[in-house]
């Protein structure tokens, strides 16, 4: 009996000791900030005044998020980004994954090469691309001029800046998307293809009838992740265009950052971040719902 009591006591202290740092971190860096973020979003706090002088203003910040032209523009831009980014990266990703899945020489080298932009920081990548896309000394426009096209001043042109941001983001993320899809492809059993070969199925019908359906869980994961990432675009925008020209590449997170840390509008920024949360949360829920309807799970 004493042994059992001792064992129970040991188990509890061990659980406490092992869990303590993680739970303290969870409380200090997740839960408390989350709760205070809700309060701050209903205040007009400017960081300069004291905690005790916090002044609540109801839903004003939230109303402003949807009437303020800049934050409206940033939400709109994020949707433009999404429309340009998601279909392209998904299709390209499938194409890459299918090719990377083939058993040919040097395939490991290709897989490694495609992944290099993924591991690099957005800062380094953005700086290189700012140079490549430079109107005068940029390589892209030089190459275009060689085939008789006069390139725009990409990042300072309000029509092309977003196109450039989208293209560079696809370039950076394609390795990630392809490798995840490749892992999904490799989970598909060879048996399906062998059976299809016996039936004399064409490559196209194998793609449509076997690969895509069996890849659909991974595809949905990729689509959900790229949706969520699109709403959080920040580093590349701040470094490549600083949100410009004239707000053409301004994004939600960029607005949160600017309002909080440049204009000291902590309350407004917090409200914007909660709007971002609601958007991401709804998208995730819709995706879950769609997943139940469309995604095929192997039985």
């Amino acid at each position: 009996m004493r042994m059992v009591g001792q064992r129970k006591w040991n188990r509890r202290t061990a659980a406490f000791v092992f869990l303590l740092p993680a739970v303290l971190g969870l409380i200090a860096f997740q839960l408390l900030p989350m709760i205070s973020s809700i309060f701050i979003s209903f205040s007009d706090w400017d960081l300069l005044s004291k905690w005790t002088q916090i002044h609540f203003i109801g839903w004003t910040n939230y109303v402003e998020v949807f009437s303020n032209e800049k934050s409206y523009t940033s939400i709109k831009n994020v949707f433009i980004f999404l429309i340009g980014y998601m279909p392209v990266i998904t299709l390209l990703g499938i194409m890459f994954a299918v090719l990377l899945n083939r058993n040919i020489r040097a395939i490991k080298l290709y897989r490694a090469a495609i992944f290099v932009p993924v591991i690099t920081s957005w800062v380094a990548v953005s700086i290189v691309w700012r140079w490549l896309l430079n109107g005068q000394s940029g390589l892209i426009n030089y190459a275009l001029s060689k085939i008789g096209i006069e390139g725009p001043i990409w990042l300072q042109d309000d029509h092309w800046a977003m196109v450039a941001i989208i293209a560079v983001t696809i370039w950076k993320d394609i390795g990630f998307v392809s490798i995840i899809l490749l892992a999904g492809l490799q989970d598909i059993s060879e048996d399906y293809y062998e059976a299809a070969n016996l039936d004399g199925a064409s490559a196209w019908s194998k793609l449509i009838k076997i690969t895509i359906p069996l890849l659909s869980p991974t595809l949905f994961f990729i689509i959900t992740i790229s949706l969520i990432n699109s709403f959080q675009v920040f580093d590349q925008v701040l470094i490549m265009t600083n949100g410009g020209p004239a707000g053409a590449t301004s994004t939600i997170v960029e607005q949160v950052y600017r309002n909080a840390f440049q204009f000291n509008k902590m309350g407004f920024a917090a409200a914007q971040s909660w709007v971002l949360f609601v958007i991401i949360f709804s998208v995730t829920m819709v995706m879950q719902w769609l997943q139940r309807r469309w995604v095929v799970y192997e039985r």
Partner: protein, 275 residues
């Protein structure tokens, strides 16, 4: 006949993948060569792929404008400390969630999982306030602390620890081992591959992080490489050779880590997909 068909197919696959690889790698080659050019050659038209003479001076010159090697040191220290602490804290919590039952454990675990859904931006403003009220802005602790708690890492390691058979742990307890001993001598060695993947993952995200260092530092002494580079570009936006030299310095360490640990890297990434 069939052979010729697959030969053409293979050739086309190679062609596509070669073009794709070059497109994806080229900016890095251009960055490397730019880092060794002088300030005139770097903007010369028509551009030259290789520098006419390899100019190592840029890596010294850059120090005149910004303490880049100080940034490098900061990034190394912060990435290593963050990674070690994150792994330890995650593994400890994961052990409890997988193997040590007590009342209320499930509830705590659900809270952990829920926080994975909250985007970092929501907690950004209050975190900044918390850190400025406790004077942690512009300190190493301020840069390290938010990075060492990872619900995702905990979840990943928990999934792995769950696969360890209970009989193995029971046998250790019967031999008189304590919970701490079991953790150190049985759990940790058995989950090494997942730990390796998480190590690389944690190191990379700390090495590359930008937004938090951007708001959590004011002085040059505490800046990390990405932050320092972004400030450098703001000041001397046309000194492309110096910027590229700085980029090379920030790229090479993470690239080296990648080359050494490629298998785990890709494994770590694809494990994300299993979630």
């Amino acid at each position: 006949m069939k052979d010729r068909g697959s030969l053409i197919k293979n050739a086309l696959t190679h062609l596509f993948l070669i073009v794709a690889s070059i497109t994806l790698i080229f900016p890095f080659l251009w960055m490397l060569s730019g880092g060794f050019k002088d300030s005139l050659e770097v903007v010369k038209m028509p551009p030259q792929l290789l520098p006419s003479q390899w100019n190592f001076d840029n890596f010294i010159q850059i120090e005149k404008f910004f303490p880049l090697y100080r940034f490098l040191f900061n990034s190394v220290v912060i990435a290593i400390v963050t990674t070690v602490l994150q792994l330890l804290i995650c593994a400890m919590a994961a052990y409890v969630f997988a193997k040590i039952t007590f009342k209320g454990r499930q509830a705590i675990f659900v809270v952990f999982l829920t926080t994975m859904m909250i985007p970092a931006q929501v907690t950004l403003v209050p975190l900044f306030i918390l850190f400025s009220q406790t004077n942690l802005i512009d300190t190493y602790a301020g840069l390290i602390l938010p990075g060492i708690f990872s619900a995702y890492g905990t979840f990943l390691l928990r999934q792995n620890i769950m696969t360890i058979p209970n009989e193995l742990l029971e046998a250790a307890f019967i031999d008189g081992a304590s919970y701490y001993r079991v953790f150190g001598s049985i759990i940790m060695p058995l989950i090494k591959p997942t730990l390796a993947a998480l190590t690389i993952f944690a190191f990379m995200s700390s090495w590359n992080s930008f937004l938090w260092p951007l708001i959590a530092t004011n002085s040059k002494e505490l800046m990390t490489l990405p932050l320092g580079l972004s400030k450098l570009q703001g000041k001397w936006s046309t000194e492309w050779n110096l910027l590229m030299a700085g980029n090379v310095i920030s790229f090479l360490p993470i690239f080296a880590v990648y080359l050494f640990a490629q298998r785990y890297f890709i494994k770590g990434m694809t494990m994300t997909g299993i979630k």
